[in-house]
């Protein structure tokens, strides 16, 4: 509470920024020892965070914070080694220490934090040189409540020693070779609430011990050979993705809210879920599982997030989803056999649905009409579907209606993905009246310059991508982007030249343009340069990539089809003289920056 208030303080923010401006400004205050010792810890922690993001922190500078800092997060900070830990060992009030991803930290480097009685949370995740010897130092920190040692070199032998840390409430042992015996030795940790055992060697026998943790609310057993779970009466979140599942949670007391079973193999079809206690479930991820019957859904009356992508769900089973659709906020049916008919069943039953993913399904333009009947939608993903953008209502072409017009009903629509669909540029004209649309993604080889006209008046558009299209230099030149636009992605628009992009960047410095030829960034305040080093396709790899694009896109009708691969490669190098001269100037520029 106190901290959020201080974070709001404008002057405080200005001070921290001024203090961490450069190495020189740091030198101006680092010798004010008496003031530093009096610094309230939230201020010291905020100052330290800023020093870290500005890359100004070094071991001996740490020392000035030893009487004030309580939280230090050095995660991924390059160069953290034994010397840093030596200084940190002298901290008087350190409560939280995160040195995850520090590859120079060895077990012996951790010796200085031995017996630090103030320390409550320690994160050593992915410190690959930390092994069982480190555990001897760690267990001397007797007040430790949270410990992360996932993906370190600690073995089952070391994990057994952790049993003496009786205050532990969180233990992250992900990716460690823990066996049933070492898990059994941890059962004395009665305060444990969060236990991560992904990728371990735990079997059903070991899993039976889990019921000995009376407060366990979070459990991760992903990628293990556990197939059955005992009664876990306080469990709220369970992750058993990529496991083979026989039976789970048949005890009716667990207040389970979140269940992740992606990639799981169910031995008895949907029986495991049918008998599991799922009445309080709000989140279910069963993507890529082998589920093919969905009657278990009927029990999930309060479900809000449902991911069934790449499951064997079809139009018949969609009814099950419709029955529990009342509270649904997000639904992912990507890569399933659900078609427009299924969406017809769903429409009208999902009043609160905010996010709908139908990518890689066979839905067509009729589905768009049904989607328009889901009033709360903010995010719609129709990537790689049969949407064409037009509906034929009569027999002749005159009766054509733009299907996307129906989406105008969705007053909250913020994101729309139409990549790899057959929507032609003219089909995009209804988009200009989408009042809340911020993100729009298009990827289609038939989109020509007129696309720009349809998109330039979408009032709140911030991110626009038109990839692999046949946009030209003059089209880009004429484009009047919406004032709100921040990012324009033109990757794969092979007709656009580097010069045209640079010219566009010059006129619209606030827009970040992405293209193979150039990565530009918006003007920064120092006004250094509007375009950062541009990179040219320097090798045939780029050309081969283009070729791949061609074979992937099924609706490719542009000029490139005329050429064979070798001809294309030749074309690629035709622009090289221009390219190399530019490349040279860029590398010179880069050098100057260094």
């Amino acid at each position: 509470m106190e901290m959020t208030k201080e974070n709001e303080s404008e002057l405080l923010r200005l001070c921290i920024e001024a203090a961490c401006e450069s190495k020189e400004t740091v030198d101006k205050w680092r010798l004010q020892r008496r003031t530093l010792d009096r610094l309230p810890s939230p201020l010291a922690d905020a100052l330290l965070r800023r020093l870290l993001t500005r890359r100004l922190l070094y071991p001996s500078l740490l020392e000035v914070f030893k009487h004030s800092a309580e939280e230090i997060d050095l995660r991924g900070y390059t160069g953290v080694d034994a010397e840093w830990i030596a200084y940190l060992g002298a901290f008087r009030h350190l409560r939280y220490l995160n040195i995850a991803d520090s590859h120079r930290i060895t077990s012996s480097a951790l010796w200085p934090i031995t017996g630090m009685s103030t320390l409550k949370e320690l994160d050593l995740s992915r410190c690959s040189k930390v092994n069982d010897a480190a555990i001897n130092h760690v267990i001397s920190i007797e007040n430790l409540e949270k410990l992360h040692i996932s993906e370190t070199s600690v073995t089952a032998k070391g994990v057994k020693l952790l049993a003496s840390l009786e205050n532990l409430s969180l233990l992250d042992l992900g990716g460690l070779p823990i066996d049933d015996i070492s898990l059994t030795s941890l059962q004395v940790l009665k305060k444990l609430q969060y236990l991560d055992l992904w990728g371990s060697e735990i079997s059903n026998q070991g899993a039976a011990v889990l019921s000995m943790f009376p407060k366990l609310t979070y459990l991760n057993l992903a990628w293990t050979s556990v197939t059955k779970l005992p009664d876990l009466s306080s469990l709220e979140c369970l992750n058993m993705s990529n496991c083979t599942i026989e039976s789970i949670l048949e005890d009716d007391k667990a207040p389970l809210a979140k269940l992740i079973l992606s990639g799981a193999t169910f031995l008895n079809e949907d029986e495991a879920l049918l008998y599991a206690n799922t009445t309080s479930l709000s989140f279910l991820d069963a993507a890529h599982s082998n589920l093919c019957r969905f009657s278990f859904l009927s029990k999930m009356e309060v479900i809000e997030h449902l991911n069934l992508s790449s499951c064997m769900i079809d139009d018949d089973s969609v009814e099950m989803v419709a029955c529990i659709g009342g509270k649904l906020k997000s639904l992912n049916l990507g890569g399933t056999k659900v078609s427009s008919v299924g969406l017809g069943i769903l429409a009208g039953h999902v009043p609160n649905l905010e996010s709908l993913t139908l990518s890689q399904t066979q839905v067509d333009d009729t589905a768009v009409l049904f989607i328009s009947m889901m009033p709360s939608l903010k995010v719609v993903d129709l990537n790689t579907t049969n949407i064409k953008g037009v509906l034929h209502q009569g027999r002749n072409d005159l009766d054509m209606v733009f299907s996307l017009t129906a989406l105008q009903n969705l007053k909250k629509l913020e994101r729309l993905n139409l990549e790899h669909t057959q929507v032609m540029d003219t089909g995009l004209c209804p988009l200009e009246s989408f009042q809340e649309l911020r993100y729009l993604s298009l990827k289609n080889a038939s989109l020509a310059d007129i696309t720009f006209d349809y998109l330039s008046s979408i009032p709140k558009l911030t991110n626009l991508s038109i990839c692999d299209a046949v946009l030209t230099n003059s089209g880009l030149h004429m484009f009047k982007p919406p004032e709100t636009l921040k990012v324009l992605d033109l990757s794969g628009c092979w007709l656009i030249s580097q010069d045209a992009i640079l010219a566009f960047c010059r006129v619209h410095p606030q827009i970040e343009v992405r293209h193979e030829f150039v990565t530009s960034f918006p003007y920064n305040q120092s006004g250094l340069n509007y375009s950062s080093p541009s990179r040219l396709p320097s090798s045939p790899i780029q050309a081969t990539k283009k070729k791949e694009h061609m074979s992937v896109s099924p609706h490719f009708i542009d000029q490139r089809l005329k050429y064979s691969r070798d001809e294309l490669l030749a074309l690629q190098f035709m622009s090289l003289p221009f390219a190399t001269s530019n490349d040279r100037s860029t590398s010179a520029f880069e050098k100057r920056l260094e």
Binding site: S9, E10, L12, C15, I16, A18, V26, K28, Q32, L39
Partner: protein, 98 residues
């Protein structure tokens, strides 16, 4: 300037800064002192003493109050802070909730 529209801020060394009440109110702490009825003597005399804040820092704070008022009304200028003052000023800003 009418007396009731101003407040007097007194530093640890006893220096007095008379500034607009509106400016002083930028600080949530001073705002609370001046507006909570009767509970602070400060609200009656329009005087606030800061035994923890030195004259240099209090002067900077007053400058900030006025800068903040301008900034709030849309004037975009930088507020310069000397690196030597940052630590003390941080603590004062923290105390004054500004």
């Amino acid at each position: 300037m009418k007396k009731e529209d101003t407040v007097k801020l007194i530093s640890a060394e006893g220096f007095e800064f008379v500034i607009d009440k509106e400016a002083a109110m930028v600080s949530q702490t001073i705002h609370n002192m001046l507006t909570s009825p009767g509970s602070f003597a400060e609200s009656q005399h329009g005087e606030v003493t800061f035994p923890e804040i030195s004259t240099t820092i209090l002067e900077k704070i007053c400058q900030y109050f006025y800068w903040h008022l301008q900034f709030a009304s849309g004037k975009e200028t930088e507020f310069p802070i000397e690196p030597e003052l940052t630590l003390e000023l941080m603590m004062a800003a923290n105390y004054l909730h500004t």
